[in-house]
């Protein structure tokens, strides 16, 4: 009995370190195989590409840890990006437009939370519904054509650099990582997230208020998706209705690759960061090596399957 548990603990540790080891191995292999890989420019470019997925995946980590899933993140990203760009195009200021975008993301996330808690809809179905709905709203709002960004200050959010070197999105990613990490491990809120995922009934009986918690958890996911949407819009200089399609799956992949259990209750935020980096560097490496994009998908799929197989627990 005792030893089985030690094994499972050792397994968890291995699985946790697994993502880190995987990332390190990938780094070494790519450094050897491509001379262009280990350059400051390339690494920073990858970090910038990863930042959008990482921001979404941080929110997704909270949702998955609490035993849920959020498929609507990509759609929220697109709508909030479009609304922010639209408000600026209508002559509103940067702060108001971005603030409205963030607020919209928070509210949309809380709608997911309400559907899941008060509506008692399974998270997969609830967020599948809002994903489809919001994508449609975005398409009709933009009429299918991109909304260009005119505000040059706004363009810095995603396109600017610190010290002429580090892209601002990378800074946002690390700031969000530190804040979310603290939220998860240092606050009562974070503790309750893990408790809900571990045993919802026990959490409820211990006085954890499930509905407000779920509103907050999905709200956080929506807020981070909105932030990612604003950063992406800024970097691309335009908002597109189809932005963020499939991002929900990349975010889930990052969370799972990082060793967080899809059934909830066990996981860590650092793993999600590593998972997002793993996906980013894998894409970059395969590009540098000239692997066709068809095969890139095959490789990515295999990596995800390996991670899920490691997550398998008796």
């Amino acid at each position: 009995m005792t030893l089985q548990l030690n094994w499972s603990r050792a397994g968890t540790l291995l699985q946790r370190l697994g993502s880190v080891i995987g990332l390190a191995l990938l780094f070494i292999v790519l450094s050897i195989m491509s001379p262009d890989f280990l350059t400051t420019g390339n690494l920073l470019t990858v970090l910038r590409q990863v930042s959008i997925n990482a921001l979404i995946a941080f929110g997704m980590t909270f949702v998955i840890l609490a035993g849920g899933i959020d498929l609507s993140v990509g759609a929220i990203l697109a709508l909030t990006g479009a609304v922010t760009a639209g408000l600026m195009a209508a002559g509103h200021g940067l702060v108001l437009s971005a603030g409205a975008g963030l607020l919209l993301g928070l509210v949309l996330g809380m709608v997911n939370g309400a559907l899941v808690s008060w509506g008692k809809v399974a998270p997969f179905i609830a967020t599948l519904g809002t994903m489809t709905l919001l994508r449609g709203v975005t398409l009709s709002y933009t009429q299918g054509s991109p909304i260009p960004v005119t505000n040059s200050g706004f363009a810095l959010l995603g396109g600017g650099y610190v010290a002429n070197l580090i892209p601002l999105p990378v800074i946002w990613m690390f700031v969000a990582f530190v804040l979310c990490g603290f939220l998860l491990r240092g606050t009562v809120f974070g503790r309750h997230v893990v408790a809900i995922g571990g045993n919802e009934e026990a959490a409820r009986l211990s006085g954890v208020r499930l509905s407000p918690m779920k509103l907050a958890i999905y709200g956080l996911s929506g807020l981070l998706s909105a932030f990612a949407g604003i950063v992406l819009t800024s970097r691309l200089y335009s908002a597109q209705a189809t932005a963020g399609a499939g991002y929900e799956l990349d975010a889930i992949a990052a969370v799972v690759l990082g060793g967080t259990s899809l059934s909830g209750g066990r996981g860590w935020l650092f793993g999600t960061l590593v998972g997002a980096l793993l996906i980013g560097f894998l894409n970059n490496g395969l590009n540098l090596l000239g692997v066709s994009s068809f095969y890139q998908q095959v490789v990515k799929g295999i990596v995800i399957l390996i991670a899920v197989l490691l997550d398998r627990r008796q």
Binding site: M1, T2, L3, Q4, L5, N6, R9, R185, G186, T187, V188, F189, R191, V194, A195, G198, N199, E201, A202, A203, R204, L205, S206, G207, V208, R209, G265, R266
Partner: protein
């Protein structure tokens, strides 16, 4: 005397450096009900897992019918006619009785399922366990726990089991179902089946079993015939010392009325009224399904109250959610600690502070939390190496103490205990009783639901008896007999 059905000798088993069994012997005769006892972690489960081929022993011999047997897989055990009825039943709820009975060994005809043959055979098997009234086409999910257990036994017998291992078989059964099970066990014994009975319930073991074998810390302590055996002797064999008393005594110091429950109605609970005093232990007795747990859920705000009022220290509270109940001063130790009491993948520290995490402005006060946990570990004598270990790794008794610790951290004014010692070994029980007494002495008002009558009689100051959702009696515990409680519990006058 016949050759033993099973003889296990000098069994050793270690998991890595942890020695779980060291030279254990066990013998089962045909037509015998043999109790296997020992505290949690003594090695009972491991021994039975070796007998059923789930684990391989490191050394030692197993004989079946006097001949050496090699049991290395569950299929081997089945071949030798050894079957285990698990505490958690292994039936598929959405399939019928017949489907479950023949799962994995379906009768086929031209490659198609032969439903008629299976139904006919299923009826024969059900008749052997006295369940001939059940239709084999009934879905398992429509059966009571007791009936499901009978189906499991029928499946084992249908596979020609001659050795039946039962692990806490009565834990979830009603009084009536327990009696039915005991009658079946006696019938099987008369037919020559050997039964290994694993349980913590002394009364049952003394009523049912022929011999008792005791394990302690992986060692074989001894086998004794039940007739002429004293209760205290068994306890001594199990814990290696004489317990001062099975139920520690307490001088009641009953103070003012703390909780006033008036005409509480909701769900199956109908018009229940009682007073609970500070420093009092009010036992709640009744058969399974009498509405005891439902009453507790109403008081704790888990289910909706349709009528009645609840007054705590002179203030009407009537909780609408567990959160409100906790803020009013209620604590609730639920009957199912794994499903409702604990987050198994969280550490002891995190579980203990779940109802109220020591924090300032939402930020966890880690040193304060550790200090609080350390204090509770000491106060409740929770045996663990490390408060950071997942509670999954703790024994049943220690897990139950963690559930208690959760609530003690809050200093509740009213503590509801639902089956506080279920699945806890003798030593652990005594410690939990001691904690309950201490709490009462500190002035906590305690409502203790229990299906173990000796526990209710010995621990309570007064006893509330329920039957079909109603309170049928409120008795002074002093001098009351089990018969008086049972009469009220069965609705008699």
């Amino acid at each position: 005397m016949n050759a033993p059905l099973v003889r296990m000798q000098d069994i050793h088993k270690a998991f890595g450096p942890v020695k779980v069994l060291e030279g254990v012997a066990f013998e089962l005769l045909p037509g015998e009900v043999h109790a296997l006892m020992g505290e949690n972690g003594a090695g009972k489960s491991t021994l039975m897992k070796i007998l059923t081929g789930i684990y391989a022993p490191d050394s030692g011999t197993i004989e079946v019918d006097g001949k050496p047997a090699s049991i290395t897989t569950p299929a081997d055990a089945e071949k030798y006619g050894i079957a285990i009825i698990h505490q958690e039943l292994n039936l598929i709820p959405a399939l019928s009785i017949a489907d479950n009975l023949f799962l994995g060994r379906e009768i086929q005809r031209f490659g198609l399922l032969d439903h008629r043959a299976m139904t006919k055979r299923a009826m024969e098997w059900l008749a052997r366990v006295g369940m001939e009234r059940l239709d084999p086409g009934t879905l398992i999910e429509r059966l009571s726990v007791g009936q499901q257990q009978m189906v499991e036994i029928a499946r084992a017998l249908g596979q020609n089991a001659r050795v039946l291992i039962m692990d806490e078989p009565t834990a979830a059964l009603t009084e009536h179902e327990t009696n039915t099970l005991f009658k079946l066990i006696r019938d099987l014994r008369a037919q020559g089946t050997g039964i290994v009975y694993v349980s913590h319930r002394m009364e049952e073991i003394f009523a049912l079993c022929d011999r008792i074998s005791v394990l302690r810390d992986g060692h074989f302590v001894g086998t004794r015939p039940v007739p002429g055996l004293a209760f205290d002797e068994v306890v001594k064999m199990m814990v290696g010392r004489t317990l001062d008393a099975r139920f520690p005594t307490r001088t009641p110091n009953i103070r003012e009325v703390r909780l006033k429950v008036e005409h509480v109605t909701g769900g199956m609970v109908k018009d229940v009224s009682f007073d609970l005093h500070s420093g009092e232990v009010l036992g709640v007795a009744g058969l399974l399904g009498a509405g005891r747990t439902e009453l507790a859920r109403l008081l704790f705000g888990l289910d909706k109250l349709s009528e009645g009022t609840v007054t705590l220290d002179g203030k009407v509270v009537t909780p609408k959610s567990p959160n409100e109940a906790i803020h009013s001063g209620f604590g609730f130790v639920t009957e199912d600690r794994k499903a409702q009491g604990l987050v198994l993948d969280m550490s002891l520290r995190e579980n203990v502070s779940l109802p109220r995490v020591p924090a300032r402005a939402g930020l966890v006060d880690r040193p304060g939390e550790k200090k609080q946990t350390r204090g509770l570990i000491d106060a409740l004598k929770i045996r663990t190496r490390d408060m950071e270990l997942d509670v999954r790794a703790l024994s049943g008794g220690n897990q139950q103490k963690v559930v208690l610790a959760k609530w003690l951290a809050l200093k509740p004014r009213v503590l509801i205990l639902d089956e506080p010692t279920r699945g806890v070994d003798v030593g652990g029980k005594a410690e939990i009783y001691h904690i309950i007494n201490q709490l009462a002495e500190q002035g906590v008002a305690i409502l203790m639901i229990s299906s173990e009558l000796p526990e209710v009689l010995a621990m309570s100051d007064r006893i509330l008896v329920m039957h079909e959702g109603r309170a049928t009696a409120l008795l002074e515990a002093h001098g009351v007999t089990q018969e008086a409680v049972m009469t009220a519990a069965t609705g008699g006058k």
